[in-house]
């Protein structure tokens, strides 16, 4: 069977329809047009306590239309892809754009900036050719084989009186195919498959307190999905949560597990985005070229790594991605500026967002355990519970859970704690990193250690 049989793969007729819409919009009065045609297919099997609890099958399609008309701009989308209806939709969209106020900064990216090496969608090797061999029965067997409920049930009820309450799991696989074209000749396609598995396990102690944890994995190719150990890890992590003890608030060294470390970096990346900067709603305004972070911190964007989760050859404008430094030895090296924001800020455009971020390890510590040893007495953060940050000031406050650590060893779980501070000050207190980022993450951020952090309890 050929992969063309997969319902989520764009057909030539659908691509022709997108091309027709592009031409039609120009004929109707749009000077410039960008169209993104997308389809996706997802199959999901949900599990509860070792049995199939739900199934889901989803086939999506959409056509997004960005119109540049008489110096004005509008964005439209529809999932009704019949030709006649689309023509009416486009005609009405153009009329709508004409009613808006003019904005001379709106434009398509210059043709020399767009990707020219994304013709088939398969260039990055993110499409699993075995996808079309999957069957409903095969999916069900894989999902059921991933359960750990019987083993966990047998193990629970130990001397501490802990019982397994629920094991919820989800297996899913999906195909995503998208094509972006514009009236200046852009033709960029991205096709990928994704396989995911996740488990959440809840246990109860003898006093009726509940403790839960999760584990998950994902991969573009099924052969790389680590599905066998997922449920067992979730159970182990839930059991480790039992018996939390209170600690005093104060200043602590903290180690943030790679699993949740993006919580502390994502606001920094957002603050380097053109939208925040242009609106002066960023704590990194006027930061370009300045040493605002410690010299040991280098952050790269590596968007073109073949076969790796999160890789992309182009952004939503069709602009070609490239490897670049975001922060180099503590110095801010780039803002994320799409064509529009660059024009408004009178700067050169870059890329609209970080694609596949990697924080370079500081060296000397390979694993989380190595980092804990280096930190000595500290709090290990394994999860965040709510909280937020102020984009204008960089102040943050998050709920956390994890473990009290003495001499590099976990002593007991802690929860209902809060970490509070300011991002610039926090990153200034970076002690070291491990080198343990999981490849299933699109942001490759290793476990991080910071000193002198405010913890409320």
């Amino acid at each position: 069977m050929s992969s063309n049989k997969i319902a989520a793969i764009l057909t030539q007729a659908e691509i022709d329809l997108a091309q027709h819409c592009l031409t039609f919009a120009q004929e109707e009065g749009a000077q410039k047009v960008r169209i993104t045609l997308s389809k996706s297919l997802m199959n999901l099997i949900g599990l509860l306590n070792g049995e199939v609890d739900k199934t889901a099958h989803a086939l999506d399609r959409s056509l997004q239309l960005q119109l540049f008309v008489d110096g004005r701009y509008g964005a439209f989308s529809t999932n009704k892809l019949e030709k006649e209806g689309l023509e009416t939709f486009i005609r009405e969209a153009i009329d709508t754009v004409k009613m808006l106020q003019a904005d001379t900064c709106r434009d398509l990216p210059a043709p020399e900036r767009v990707a020219k090496d994304a013709r088939t969608g398969r260039e990055l090797g993110l499409f699993d050719p075995a996808y079309d061999q999957l069957t409903a029965e095969g999916r069900r067997e894989l999902a059921l084989a991933s359960c750990h409920f019987k083993a966990s049930s047998a193990h629970s009820g130990d001397s501490r009186g802990i019982s397994l309450l629920a094991e919820e799991g989800e297996y899913s696989d999906s195909v995503f195919d998208t094509l972006t074209i514009d009236s200046q000749g852009l033709y960029a396609r991205h096709t990928e498959t994704s396989f995911e598995i996740g488990y959440e396990t809840t246990v109860e102690d003898a006093r009726g307190n509940h403790f839960s944890s999760y584990w998950w994995d994902a991969a573009p190719l099924l052969q790389d999905l680590r599905w066998k150990e997922c449920a067992a890890i979730a159970y182990k992590r839930a059991m480790e949560q039992v018996g939390p003890q209170e600690i005093e608030g104060g200043k602590y060294t903290v180690v943030v597990d790679t699993e949740c470390a993006s919580k502390l970096l994502t606001p920094v990346l957002n603050a380097l985005g053109g939208f925040s900067l242009q609106q002066k709603n960023s704590f990194l305004v006027d930061s370009l070229g300045k040493q605002l972070f410690p010299e040991k911190l280098t952050i790269l964007d590596l968007p073109r790594a073949a076969g790796e989760t999160g890789s992309r050859l182009f952004d939503s404008e069709g602009v070609a991605t490239r490897e670049m430094s975001i922060v180099d030895k503590g110095v801010v090296k780039t803002y994320f500026l799409n064509t529009y924001m660059a024009a408004k800020m009178e700067m050169e455009p870059t890329i609209e967002d970080a694609i596949r971020v990697k924080v370079l390890p500081t060296g000397g510590h390979k694993t989380l355990e190595d980092l804990l040893k280096a930190a000595g007495d500290c709090i290990l953060i394994t999860g965040f519970n709510g909280g937020n940050s102020n984009p204008a000031t960089g102040n943050f406050s998050y709920g956390i859970e994890g473990f009290l650590v003495k001499d590099g060893k976990k002593v007991h779980p802690v929860r209902e704690l809060l970490i509070t501070g300011n991002f610039l000050q926090l990153w200034g207190k970076l002690l070291a990193t491990a080198d343990d980022a999981r490849p299933c993450l699109s942001k490759l951020i290793p476990s991080l250690a910071f000193t002198n952090v405010d913890i409320s309890a």
Binding site: H57, R72, A166, G249, Q279, N388, S397, D454, S456
Partner: protein, 478 residues
């Protein structure tokens, strides 16, 4: 505005025989129940930035979701095409959950109330329709809104104003031959400004969201939002982080309803209890907070963001008392959980769109007023904190640990509001926080903001509360 049945049949290119055939196809492998959810949503948006409305657009979402239940197990699939072959394919995909007839039916299928007609009460009547009004008609509203804000404070350096609206037509049919239809409007306005003072920046936001037509875009709304945006900005600049730790917290009336949403509302959603994971799974009929407290989830508040004529399973919108006089009296049910517990559904089966199977979800969640005065509750606290503006919250269902992020508030020292505070997270445990309520004021307010709940899917909700005093929560600080 609810149209005649034929409007929805034409929109989705179906009639009753087609619906019946589709249900039969979905149940061809067995199963105990099937429902169909047809949706046609049109969205519109306008964005004002840097003094001009330079961005806008329309979006269409159209499709049908097919759900098959086999006992408590769910098969779900959807189609974005109403061609019979596509819908049939979708029904067959959903049918895979079942391999035999199951004699366990969700609520309402054994003694169906043949659902026509729709309810007499329309909870979201529309005066000026969003559809059919050109976007250009709304430009002056955003421009006046920006002017009203800027003229109130010269420290404003940036303003973003956003208008978003959607109108959703739904048609529901199920294997009990219940047929329901509805048209749901929603208009939302959000406003954000960045202020600068002595080289320091602060941002502040506000929003309004209602199930109303474009008549909501009034001059009084402009005044109200502009006033609210600039109110308290001096305190925001003066605010400091408090010293963190456990302390009494007075939660101001209105938006503090996020406490109810996070600390208890999710834990009362019956799917978590059916699975045994909720911290409240074994507390039905038990005292969970002090006498005199009523906590409600309500789909009947006309024009409210959480209002529903029907939920997304065709169950009439209703007002549900979850806590009466301090006793847990009801979870929030969809059809599956209602059958599991042997009770009537509470009209909480909701979904983000036809792409999702419904789940028990909140609507407008609030606590009824008590008898205390807000000023007296503050006066009771020697050292604590008063909070009244929030951005987001979260809960861990199993443990019951909840958090919410405080954008602004004040220290309470010796019974008086003193130093402004900002940007702190507060954390607590749901059952403990309920038990620790020490006073409820007589000033219930339901917040009019654009609250969205993100439990697996995004649905519009609202929340409210009178001023309450909680004896101890953990406050983030330095």
């Amino acid at each position: 505005m609810i149209h005649p049945k034929e409007h929805y049949f034409n929109l989705f290119q179906v009639d009753t025989p087609v619906l019946e055939r589709l249900v039969q196809a979905a149940l061809s492998s067995g199963g105990s129940y099937c429902d169909l959810f047809f949706e046609n949503t049109t969205y519109g948006s306008l964005l004002l930035r840097d003094g001009a409305v330079t961005s806008g657009g329309n979006h269409i979402d159209y499709g049908v979701g097919v759900r098959v239940l086999s006992g408590e197990k769910t098969g779900y699939a959807y189609s974005e095409s109403m061609a019979w072959e596509d819908m049939l394919s979708c029904a067959r995909a959903a049918s895979q959950i079942a391999d035999k007839p199951v004699d366990v039916s969700p609520y309402g299928t054994r003694n169906p109330s043949r659902g026509e007609p729709n309810p007499a009460a329309d909870r979201y009547p529309v005066v000026q329709h969003w559809r059919g009004t050109p976007l250009s008609a709304f430009l002056p509203f955003l421009q006046k809104l920006e002017q009203a804000v800027r003229q109130r404070d010269t420290r404003i350096v940036k303003v973003i104003a956003n208008l978003a609206f959607q109108v959703t037509d739904v048609l529901m049919y199920n294997s009990a031959r219940e047929l329901k239809w509805d048209t749901r409007p929603m208009g939302s306005v959000s406003l954000t400004a960045v202020f600068q003072q002595n080289g320091q920046s602060e941002n502040k936001s506000t929003s309004r969201s209602f199930r109303q037509g474009a008549e909501m875009l009034s001059d009084s709304l402009i005044e109200e939002m502009a006033m609210e945006l600039v109110h308290g900005i001096d305190d925001r600049f003066a605010a400091r982080r408090p010293k963190g730790g456990s302390m009494p917290v007075v939660m101001g009336a209105g938006a503090s309803g996020i406490l109810l949403h996070e600390a208890m509302g999710h834990a009362f959603e019956a799917d978590f209890n059916r699975k045994g994971t909720s911290i409240f799974a074994d507390k039905m009929g038990r005292k969970i907070c002090p006498d005199g407290i009523q906590i409600i989830d309500d789909g009947t508040l006309a024009g409210n963001r959480g209002a529903l004529n029907f939920d997304d399973e065709g169950i009439p919108g209703q007002k549900t008392y979850m806590v009466e006089d301090g006793v847990l009296t009801s979870y929030l049910h969809d059809r599956i959980s209602a059958a599991h517990y042997g009770v009537r559904p509470t009209g909480n089966g909701r979904r983000e769109s036809f792409r999702y199977a419904p789940l028990p979800r909140m609507r407008a969640t609030y606590m009824e007023s008590g008898s205390a005065k807000a000023s007296d509750l503050i006066a009771e606290v020697q050292k604590g904190i008063f909070v009244n503006e929030f951005s987001n919250g979260q809960v861990q269902i199993g443990e019951g640990d909840f958090t919410f992020y405080v954008k602004s508030g004040y220290l309470i020292e010796n019974g008086r509001l003193t130093q402004p505070v900002k940007d702190i997270n507060i954390i607590g445990n749901g059952p403990q926080a309920l038990a620790d309520i020490r006073g409820v004021a007589d000033d219930l307010a339901v917040d009019p903001g654009a609250w969205t709940c993100g439990k697996e899917q995004s649905v519009p909700v609202s929340c409210g509360i009178p001023t309450v005093l909680i004896s101890g929560l953990t406050v983030g600080g330095e």
